[in-house]
Structure formats: C-alpha cells, structure tokens
C-alpha cells in the first residue's frame, strides 16, 4: 500500500556520504586536543561544582624588534631579538641575500598569501622565536634553536629575553565550561526502548 505522502527528492549529490567517514567540520588538532582531553579527565582546577575549569592565559605586553637574515635563498634565521616597550611597535627587519632590507609588522607577516611563499618561510622561522609568542604560540613552550642563526643569538633570547618577556606578560584567569562525559555508564543491561 502506498501511503507515503511526501515527494521524495533523492539524496543531495553534493552531500553524499563518503562511506561512513566522520568528516565533521569542527576538528581540534594536536596540542589543543591533548590539552582539552587533559582538562576533561583531570577535572581541571575548577570550582567544587565542577561546572567550570579555570585557565590562565599569558599574553606578552612588550614588543620585539626581530632581525632576520636570509642566509641562503629563502632560508631565514633570527640574528637578534630586542624587547621594546610597546607591543604595537614590534617589527621584523629582514636583511635579504642582496643586502636589501625589508621591514614588516607582525600582522603583515601573519597574513597567509599563496603568491608570497617568502613570507610563509619567514613566518615559520619567526614562530620558533620570541615573536612566536605574539603570533599565538603558548608562552610556556620553548624557543627553537633551529630558528636562530647562532648559539649566541639563541641563548640571548632563550635566557634573558624570554625571562623578561614572561615577567611583564599579562596573566588572565578565565573560567571555561568543563566538558562532561560518562553519562549512562553501567546501564546497558536492559533495553530502554518501548
């Protein structure tokens, strides 16, 4: 008996399943995921009701003048980092192979531009230095020796520079909703259908 009262429009081609894959749009990767998992299972340092977890955000207030040198074609290294008072005055000064000099702001370097691979290469080097803390890298993470041109430039930033940047950083404690899991555990011995 045909009792269907709807007109079937068929599957939408552009939305076809890819064979049971779970390609949801929101994906949290790597360190963020591990941090999330840690907070979830550790219960964080939240209040007694466990509805929230507290998280301390550390954010630099000082700025940096970062000097980069192009040692080989498209190979950049940090030669010096100097702390300055204002974050907004931060600059990246690049000495190119032909001895020409370019100066960029942090925002200019952060822009992804497929037509400008040079900027992308500079960005990856800068992320390993102190400037990386202003581009989103957690301040608890260390500096990358490979980003620096020499042991001296690395040590200078990794000891005195990093310490001073950390001591003047702004610390904000935020409350975030905690995640919950484990509901209904141990209840699989009977059907709950009707």
């Amino acid at each position: 008996m045909e009792n269907n009262q709807n007109e079937y429009q068929g599957p939408q081609p552009e939305e076809q399943s890819t064979g049971g894959g779970f390609n949801f749009r929101w994906i949290l990767y790597g360190a963020v995921g591990l941090y999330f998992l840690y907070r979830m299972f550790s219960g964080g340092s939240g209040d007694s009701s466990n509805d929230y977890v507290e998280e301390t955000l550390v954010e630099p207030t000082q700025g940096i003048i970062c000097e980069l040198k192009e040692e080989e074609k498209d190979l950049y290294k940090i030669t010096n980092e100097e702390l300055i008072e204002n974050r907004a005055d931060s600059r990246i000064i690049v000495t190119n192979l032909d001895s020409s000099i370019d100066t960029f702001t942090i925002d200019e370097v952060k822009i992804s531009d497929a037509s400008n691979p040079r900027r992308s290469m500079m960005r990856s080097v800068l992320m390993g230095g102190m400037l990386g803390y202003m581009m989103g890298r957690p301040m608890g993470s260390g500096l990358a020796r490979s980003s620096y041109a020499s042991d001296n430039s690395y040590k200078k930033s990794n000891t005195g520079g990093r310490s001073r940047l950390n001591s003047t950083a702004r610390r904000t404690t935020v409350r975030k909703p905690s995640t919950k899991t484990g509901f209904g555990s141990g209840k699989s011995s009977r059907s709950y259908g009707g």
Partner: protein
C-alpha cells in the same frame, strides 16, 4: 472472516543476517506466521492514528499557551526543552502507537504511544517487507513504507535545517537491541548525506556552550550538529539530571538538534494520555483515571506514567482482583488506570497488538506483536501482516 493467522513457509533469515540484525533471530521472536488484514480495517487504523496525532499536537499547543505542565511531574528544564523544541519545530522522526482491537469488528483502542524511543523498527520495516516480497508471494499489499519514509525525513531535514552541518551521532545506553535501532536510523541518515557515527552515551563528550563531540580514532575531536538517541527523555530527566542541564544549554542555544525532540516526552507520558482521554470524547480513547475507584465493577488496567516493554502492568477483574501482572523497573513512576479492552484473539487463542508507526506524525507502517497472554511484553513474537487484494 475466519481466523486471521496464516502459516508461512519460512522466515527471511538470510536478509536479517545480511543486514546484521542477528539478534532478531534469537528466542524465536520471528516466526513463520502472519496475519491477514482487510483494507477497510487498515484504513480505520490509519484514520485513528491521524486523528490522535492531531489531537496530541493541539493539546500540547494549548498546554504551551497556558503553561499547564504541572500534572506531568517533570523538571522545569525539561519543560523548557519541551516548549523550545516544539516552538522551534524540531521534527519528530518516528513514533509508534500501540492499538488494541480493530480486527473482526473489535473497536480500535489506543493503548499507548511510544513517541520517544520506539522499538520494532528493523523488523517492521525491512523484515516485514522481506516476508511480503519473498515469502508470502501472493497478490496483496502491505502497509509499510517505513524505511522509505525515514529516508525522505532525513532528506527533508537536510534541506529545512540547512544552517546545520549534516553530522549526526546516534547513541544508546549500549543494550544490543537499542544500539541496533540507533544504527538503523543512523544508516538511513548516512544514505541521505549525513556524516554519521555511533557511540554509547558514556563516550559522548558534552561541552556546555560549545556542543556535542566524539573523540575520533586519530585523537581528533569531532562535533555533531545532530544527536539521535535511543535513550528516553525521562531517563535523562531523572537518572542523569546533569545531562539534562547540559542539553538544556546546548539545545536552547541551537548547538545540537536532538531527535526525537523533547516534546515527544509529553506524548509518551501516560499522564498526558489520561489528560487527553478525559478532554476529548473519541471512541479510540479508553476511559482513564488516576484512581482505581473509578473502575468499580469493571475490568481495568494499572500502568505507570513511563513504563516500557509491558513492564509494571497489572490487569484487574471486575472484583478488583489481579488476573495478570508483570514486574519491572518502572514501579516508582505515577500510576495511571485504563479501562480494560480486548485484543484481537486468533483461532489458536493468541492475542495480537498492533504497532502503527508514524514518521513526522504521518502513518507509515503497521506490524503486530503476539502473545498467549493479555500483557504483550518482551516475550512476544513479531507477526507481519498482509492485505490480500
């Protein structure tokens, strides 16, 4: 018409096995038998279902207008969700009315509405269809478009809720039959273009203010915009109130779309059925009361507001003596009393109870459960129907 029971040559065990629903082959639940219905009987059942669903909707709308939810004994956050999900037109995927009578002149009577987490879906859809196409093989019809109607449902949902990403987690508490039902719905959603995954409830991550997540095998966290649950709303209300709080936050902030929606808990409640039965004078509603004294000198049945699978039911005779009863896990819920009504009884003194499924409130499929006793519970057999031409 003579007895309606018919013998069949076989059961479609190959198809059941191929589709991986082997639990249906246990305990002689599927038997090589069927029941014959007449076309006008089917039409009367369908007419009753349409009218009852319409009454349920009208009454819920009136309750929302007047804020009359007190008699349901539900937490305030659940009531918020009932109102929100109804006003936001969250779609009712599938429910199942259980009817007595309707055959050989017996009056059609509504026993209950499994609006929230109905079972019997795989056997009523593809197993019954296989009985019809591969075993019965006579000129006949069958009232069964359940699988196709569910496909249409998810196809339409994809279109009507285009702001959501079509990602769905199906969940249950892990009992094999419930898991199979959740996966049945999930597979249909997948066919219609949803990204899907199954997880027992305990493995789902609920994040207030953010959404519902699963941890994938590769360690990523993936969010789903839809949740299909084979977990009753009343379980969430009374067994996991913290989950109710979180779902209240997520649903009312449109961070997850839960099916079946919260308002189906109202339809599921026998307190609501009691309320509607008193208010609407229709032949398919049984006389109902909160007090057994209203049935002095009559046979009547005691049920609980949120009972399942025929549990916690008592049948009393005219002298208020128990003639049949079942125990169960739901005795703590409020009691509701209904007048006794006759189930159809075949030539071998077996009793039949009709399940009439609806998708988005529209009749979609009929099937029967059968037992040699008055209370049709988890020990019943599944019986397909046929409508000879």
């Amino acid at each position: 018409m003579a007895g309606r029971q018919i013998d069949l040559d076989a059961i479609p065990s190959d198809i059941i096995t191929q589709r991986n629903y082997n639990y249906l082959l246990e305990d002689e639940y599927i038997v090589p038998e069927g029941i014959i219905l007449e076309l006008d009987e089917v039409q009367q059942f369908e007419k009753a279902q349409d009218e009852i669903y319409s009454i349920f909707q009208s009454e819920l709308e009136e309750m929302i207008r007047n804020g009359q939810f007190g008699f349901l004994d539900l937490p305030s956050k659940m009531i918020d969700l009932i109102i929100y999900s109804y006003q936001k037109k969250h779609q009712h995927v599938v429910g199942r009315f259980d009817f007595a009578g309707g055959i050989d002149g017996l009056p059609i009577k509504l026993l209950e509405y499994n609006a929230d987490t109905p079972t019997m879906i795989p056997e009523s859809s593809f197993v019954q269809d296989a009985f019809f196409k591969h075993i019965y093989k006579k000129p006949a019809q069958q009232y069964n478009s359940l699988e196709k109607d569910l496909e249409v449902f998810f196809n339409r949902l994809l279109i009507s809720e285009s702001k959501n990403h079509p990602s769905l987690i199906a969940t249950s508490l892990g009992y094999p039959e419930d898991t199979a039902h959740a996966k049945f719905i999930m597979d249909i959603a997948s066919k219609e273009g949803f990204d899907v995954e199954y997880a027992d409830l305990q493995h789902i991550i609920f994040s207030p203010g953010e959404g519902v997540y699963l941890e994938a095998d590769n360690g990523d966290y993936v969010q789903a915009d839809y949740l299909y649950k084979m977990i009753p709303w009343e379980f969430i209300c009374f067994e996991e109130p913290e989950l109710l709080d979180i779902l209240h936050d997520l649903i009312t902030n449109d961070l997850v779309y839960v099916m079946n929606p919260a308002y189906t808990l109202v339809y599921q409640s026998k307190l609501f059925l009691d309320h509607v039965s008193k208010k609407y004078d229709r032949p398919f509603f049984l006389q109902s009361s909160r007090y057994p004294k209203d049935f002095m000198g009559k046979k009547y049945v005691e049920k609980v507001s949120f009972g399942r699978l025929g549990e916690n039911i008592k049948i009393f005779d005219e002298s208020s003596q128990i003639i049949e009863e079942t125990d169960g896990d739901f005795g703590h819920f409020d009691k509701v009393y209904q007048e006794f009504t006759d189930l159809y009884k075949d030539q071998f003194n077996e009793y039949y109870q009709l399940g009439l499924f609806n998708v988005k409130g529209i009749g979609s499929c009929m099937s029967f459960r059968r037992a040699d006793k008055l209370i049709i519970d988890d020990d019943a057999e599944f019986i397909p129907h046929f409508i000879p031409q």
